[in-house]
Structure formats: structure tokens, C-alpha cells
């Protein structure tokens, strides 16, 4: 098959942020396969210098409007680690509940609005309004619910107000939590079941592709790691290894590779994957029974090596977060929710925080001077962690697609769908490196 393929997707659509795909095949020989990130840098780590510890989370929240809850949580955790602050059990549970709201919310957007149109052969959700109007409305209700759920806890979901170092500036009332619980069971779960039926009917349409890689996620002995835990990776043979959060640089190893335009990360293998699939592969046993049931219906079990099924793992996590959310609400109600004073700093130094945001493990690290002013920071973003893995997937996928004699258009769609499966959040790229090379 001595054919020519030229794919040049400038600014992949239905992803958050800007990414390009470049593939050149000349007379059947692959000359270039590239995943590029041309996002404008914003220098957040420089901008937080000289800011008071109470302001830092509200600034870095603006790294990303979609995972701003996650950035806020990673930020306050890092600040609390640096300032010697131990939050209360109630704050821990409220933050876990908020984390579930964000993962639910973001996964709903990705699966139903960004990924599903590909499975239905549509360029976006809008042409589906006349043909699938009820499902689109149901999707909009589910999305709006995520926003309301998060807002009850965090004040709002895009750049939350109430989450600060030391706890919460305000908490939901008992009545608000009771109403939230009732609305989850009476309004949201029926809509979710409708959406799940549609997704089950589409499950067979995900492309078949596998590549063995390393998967990194937070792991907690107490629960499926999202808000808290240690770093864990699982290798293709199933062996797992744990690392302390404060050692995050040892297992992320950001570096520059000439074949790529973005800063890459790796641990033991050439690249690793972060995100829903990485979490499911690491912590499947700790999923809620209802989530495991849906995983079974969708044919997902660990270890799953098909990156396209990251979207399926997100569906499984949506179910998990809804049921874990109910448990946390019940526990908060049983203990009696009350306003608590913010826990004050006991020291000023350096600290690290990690949380699982929708797209994977997120690290923030800060240092503070004796006045509580930030002297420097470091943020390692899941999308950046995944760039190398996307590139390696491309390098295995393109020859397979060529061998299967796929057309340029089919290849382009397969590559775009792969990028979308990672649900990249490129605005998050607080830092990346773009290496120009001569041809």
C-alpha cells in the first residue's frame, strides 16, 4: 500500500484547549506522527509569587475553568501541607463530596457532549437536537445538576468561593443537603439511567485498539482514591508500586522529547496514562457495587489497555460518584453539619498536594515565607502527563490503521477520537515546551 496520507488537524475540536495532529505518510512510509500543543502559556507559577496563602487557590483555580474545583482542592491541600494545617473530618468529607461533584460534572460533559457525537456520527451535539432532543435535554439536566451539586458545597463550580486553606468559609445547611439527597434519588438517577441506556447501546462503537502502558493514580486504603491518597502505578503485568505524594517529581520526571512539542512525563515505562481509566485500572476493587455493575454491563474490567475506553471508565466513575455522594451526604447529616472556624497555620514552609481531577492525578507544590506569602510554586497537570502516552498511542495506531487500509478521513477521525478519549484539558497546561525542528 504505497499511499500518501496527510493529516493536519489544526486545533482539534471538542476538546478543552488547543491541540494539533500532524501525520505525514509518503508512498506508504511514515514520515511524521505528531501530537502538538500550541496553547498560549500563562505563567501561573510565576503569578502566585508574592501572593498571600489565602489568595493562591483563587488564582490557580483560574488555570482551568473545567477542573477549577480540582485545582482549588490540590492548591489548598498543598498550602495546608506547607502551613502545617490539619482540617476537620467534616471539611474532609465536604471536600470529598465536592470532588465527586466535579468528577461527575466533568465526565457528563465529556461523555455526553464531546465524545458521544462521534459514536452517533455527528459533528457536535447541536445537530442531534432534532433527532435526539429528549436525550440532549436529559444531558443538559444532568450537566446542570452537577453544577448545582458542586455549588451547594463549594459556593460555585467554576472557581469555587468557599474552599480555602483551613477548611470552608461557609457550609451547606442541613436542609440543603437533604434537598440535594432527594434530588439525586428522585431527579438525577432517573435521567442518569436514561443516559446509561443510550450509552449501553453505543458501547460496541468504541474503536478496538490496545497498547500496554503504565497507569498512575491516587490510591487510598480507605476508599477509591479521588480527594486523597498516595501515588500508585500499575504496570501491564499487574504489579503495583506506591510513592509518597511529596516524592511526586520522582515519578513524573517531566522532560523534553524532540519528537514532541509538549513537555512529557514518564515513570518506569516510556510514558504513563492518568485519568479515569488509570484510576479504574489501579483501584477497581474499591468502586461502589453499582459502579462495578455498570462496568460489567459495559464490558470493562482491569487491566484494560484500550485508551478509547477512558470514556467508558468515566461512565463507571459517574455512577461511583453519585452513590459515594449519597453515602457522604448521609454521614454528614448523621454527624450534624455545622460552621467551623478555619484552622490556622502552625508553620510556614513548603508542601505538596495531590488530587484526582477528571483527567488524572494533579500535583501542586508551594513554598511560603514567614509572612505567609508565596515564594514559588509548581503545578503538574494530568493533560501534560498524558501527552507522551497520546504520542505513543499514535505511533502504534497509525501503522495499524495503514495496514487496515483506512482512508485519510477515517484515520483522521480515529486520531481525533483518541485525543478526545483522553479528554485533554489543554488550557491547564501551565507549562509546556515546544521544540521546533528542521525537516
Amino acid at each position: 500500500m504505497a499511499k500518501d496520507i496527510n493529516i493536519n488537524v489544526h486545533h482539534v475540536t471538542r476538546v478543552e484547549g488547543h491541540g494539533n495532529i500532524l501525520v505525514n505518510v509518503s508512498k506508504g512510509t511514515i514520515e511524521k506522527i505528531e501530537w502538538q500543543v500550541p496553547e498560549a502559556p500563562r505563567f501561573f507559577e510565576a503569578m502566585i509569587r508574592g501572593r498571600h496563602y489565602s489568595e493562591v487557590a483563587r488564582i490557580v483555580s483560574r488555570i482551568c475553568g473545567i477542573c477549577s474545583v480540582g485545582h482549588t482542592l490540590a492548591s489548598v491541600k498543598a498550602s495546608e501541607d506547607a502551613l502545617g494545617i490539619q482540617i476537620s473530618e467534616q471539611s474532609f468529607k465536604l471536600r470529598s463530596l465536592l470532588k465527586h461533584a466535579e468528577n461527575y460534572d466533568s465526565h457528563i460533559v465529556h461523555v455526553l457532549f464531546l465524545a458521544a457525537p462521534d459514536l452517533l456520527g455527528a459533528p457536535s451535539v447541536f445537530p442531534l437536537v432534532p433527532t435526539h432532543g429528549e436525550v440532549v435535554k436529559c444531558a443538559l439536566r444532568l450537566k446542570r445538576f452537577g453544577h448545582e451539586w458542586g455549588s451547594i458545597i463549594g459556593g460555585r463550580t467554576t472557581h469555587p468561593t468557599r474552599v480555602v486553606p483551613g477548611g470552608f468559609t461557609d457550609v451547606p445547611t442541613e436542609q440543603e443537603l437533604r434537598t440535594l439527597r432527594k434530588r439525586i434519588t428522585d431527579e438525577m438517577l432517573p435521567d442518569l439511567n436514561t443516559a446509561l441506556e443510550v450509552l449501553l447501546s453505543l458501547a460496541g462503537k468504541f474503536p478496538k485498539f490496545e497498547r500496554q502502558t503504565e497507569y498512575m493514580a491516587l490510591h487510598s486504603d480507605k476508599e477509591y482514591g479521588l480527594y486523597d491518597g498516595v501515588i500508585q502505578t500499575v504496570m501491564p503485568d499487574g504489579t503495583k508500586e506506591k510513592y509518597k505524594v511529596s516524592d511526586y517529581r520522582k515519578c513524573t520526571n517531566e522532560y523534553v522529547d524532540r519528537r514532541s512539542t509538549a513537555k512529557w512525563a514518564k515513570n518506569k515505562m516510556g510514558s504513563y496514562m492518568a485519568g479515569a481509566l488509570a484510576r479504574v485500572n489501579n483501584n477497581f476493587d474499591q468502586l461502589h457495587p453499582e459502579a462495578k455493575k455498570v462496568a460489567g454491563l459495559l464490558g470493562m474490567k482491569p487491566l484494560c489497555f484500550n485508551p478509547y475506553l477512558n470514556s467508558v471508565a468515566q461512565v463507571v466513575e459517574v455512577v461511583h460518584s453519585v452513590h459515594e455522594g449519597l453515602r457522604l451526604i448521609d454521614e454528614l447529616l448523621a454527624a450534624g453539619i455545622k460552621r467551623e472556624p478555619l484552622v490556622k497555620p502552625t508553620r510556614f514552609g513548603s508542601g505538596t498536594g495531590a488530587v484526582e481531577v477528571p483527567r488524572g492525578i494533579l500535583y501542586h507544590h508551594y513554598s511560603y515565607d514567614k509572612d505567609g506569602m508565596c515564594t514559588g510554586g509548581d503545578c503538574i497537570i494530568p493533560t501534560n502527563e498524558n501527552h507522551a502516552n497520546i504520542q505513543h498511542d499514535f505511533e502504534k495506531l497509525v501503522p495499524e490503521l495503514l495496514k487496515a487500509d483506512k482512508s485519510e478521513k477515517e484515520m483522521e477521525l480515529a486520531l481525533e477520537m483518541l485525543v478526545r478519549a483522553y479528554d485533554p484539558c489543554i488550557s491547564c497546561s501551565t507549562h509546556y515546551l515546544d521544540v521546533k525542528f528542521t525537516r
Binding site: A40, M47, G50, I59, S68, V164, M373
Partner: protein, 261 residues
């Protein structure tokens, strides 16, 4: 825009977090489907693969103008659009992305030895109006959903949108929110432009003026109040208003204002 044909609306993004676009999906079923009765979304990269053909009635631009390389894309959007609206704080004023404008070493601080690499070219973060003519702005970080609907509705009805020019303090009084200064905190509410409903002080945190200043803010008095009533150090009081209003301060970088027509 005749009432019989839907207005063609497009969304574009530059240097931003895309949170304002996400706020659109938070409008929910009723408001969103209601909007679609009156407008047709013809381009919105974050949510759709379709690209606009022909004229666009209203273009919303999210994000600041921070790279000379983006000027051409902005000019192209302007030439295709009847109305251009800065969508959110970054597009309207530079927002939080302008927090680096007074620093000279931001690139070195983040990229170290690689700071001079050409792709990291980033100049001052400026409002979109520094590059092209902007007709209206939806303010806020994130943008206000209610104001967005109000502006779209006004334009469809041929009415001039009204953007408040009173301080956030008025909204706290209307809501009976306790003053942050009375709680041992500080706040920028007295010089911050209202229109958000003052959610931050109500949630127990200071207003940081994400919607910008009211016209003619007294910045010297602000620093004095932050220092004397808010208990901030001289330096912190002076720097406080850089978070969202760096480009609106009297010491803003050159070019931070709107482009001269």
C-alpha cells in the same frame, strides 16, 4: 437580525481557562434550549466540529490577547462579525492573565533555561480591545450567566444592554451581607463594579473585583483602606488589586487600554 431568522452566534477562545464557555453548559435545559429558539450557534470549537460559513451576527471572544501571533485570528473574527463581545474577564480586561504584566522574570521563573525559546513568546496579557474593536463585554470571572442572557436578549430586541456602574458594596447591602471589614477581613467591594450579585462576600471571602473597577476608582484611598482597616501590609495593600484588575490600575502596562480607532 430579523425576528424570523435566528441570529448566528459563534464562540472563540484565546488565552483563557475556558471557564466562561463552561458556564454556558451550566445554564441548564430551560435557559439553554430557550436560547437555541432564538440563536443558532455556528462555531464553538470546545463543543462542536462545525465551522461558521459566511457572516456571523454575534461573536463572543473568551481570553486575553497575549501573543502577537493571535492578532491575525482576532482581526479575521472581527471582519466576519457584525457584533464582537468580549466574553468574561480575560477578554474584557486581561483579567487574571494580566497578573504577570508587572513582572519581568515570569518566563524565567517558570521555564528556567528554556525561557527564551521562541514558542514561549508571550507579551503582556491585554484585553481583546487592544487588538480589535469590541462592541460589548460580559464581565466577571467566571462571566455572569444572567448578564450573558441579558446582553444576548437586549441585542436580539435591538436594545442597548445596561452594565452597572455602582460598586459591589451596594449589592452586599441589598442582600444584607455582613461587611468583610467587620469580620476582620479586607475587600475590594467599594471600587469593584457590581452586577454579579456579590456572591463572594456572601460566601465569606473578599471581593477581588473580577468584574473590574467602577469608573474613576479612588485607588489611593483603596490602598489606604486595605492597609488601615484591612490590616494588610503596605506591599500587600498596594499589590492586592493586581489579581483581576492589573490592566485597569493607574500603573497598567502600555497598551492595556482599548485600541485607538
Amino acid at each position: 437580525m430579523s425576528p424570523k431568522t435566528k441570529a448566528k452566534v459563534a464562540f472563540f477562545d484565546f488565552t483563557s481557562c475556558e471557564g466562561c464557555q463552561i458556564e454556558l453548559t451550566n445554564l441548564g435545559e430551560k435557559a439553554f434550549m430557550g436560547l437555541l429558539d432564538h440563536i443558532e450557534i455556528v462555531e464553538f470549537r470546545e463543543a462542536m466540529s462545525e465551522k461558521a460559513q459566511g457572516r456571523i451576527d454575534i461573536s463572543f471572544i473568551e481570553g486575553s490577547f497575549s501573543r502577537e501571533a493571535d492578532r491575525k485570528r482576532l482581526e479575521d473574527i472581527r471582519s466576519r462579525s457584525n457584533v464582537v463581545i468580549a466574553f468574561g474577564a480575560c477578554a474584557a480586561t486581561g483579567g487574571v492573565t494580566a497578573l504577570k504584566n508587572h513582572m519581568s522574570d515570569y518566563s524565567e521563573a517558570v521555564y528556567g533555561k528554556d525561557a527564551k525559546m521562541p514558542h514561549l513568546d508571550s507579551s503582556f496579557a491585554l484585553p481583546v480591545s487592544a487588538a480589535i474593536k469590541v462592541d460589548y463585554s460580559v464581565l466577571g470571572c467566571p462571566m455572569s450567566q444572567a448578564e450573558f442572557v441579558e446582553i444576548v436578549s437586549s441585542l436580539l430586541h435591538g436594545k442597548e444592554p445596561v452594565i452597572p456602574n455602582h460598586p459591589v458594596c451596594v449589592e452586599c447591602k441589598k442582600k444584607s451581607t455582613l461587611c468583610r471589614y467587620g469580620q476582620g477581613d479586607h475587600c475590594l467591594g467599594m471600587v469593584a463594579r457590581a452586577g454579579c450579585g456579590a456572591p463572594c462576600p456572601a460566601d465569606g471571602i473578599p471581593c477581588e473585583a473580577c468584574r473590574g473597577f467602577v469608573d474613576h476608582p479612588n485607588q489611593e484611598a483603596l490602598v489606604k483602606v486595605l492597609r488601615e482597616k484591612g490590616g494588610l501590609s503596605e506591599e500587600r495593600a498596594f499589590n492586592k488589586s493586581r489579581i483581576f484588575t492589573a490592566n485597569l490600575r493607574s500603573d497598567a502596562v502600555k497598551g492595556a487600554g482599548a485600541r485607538k480607532e
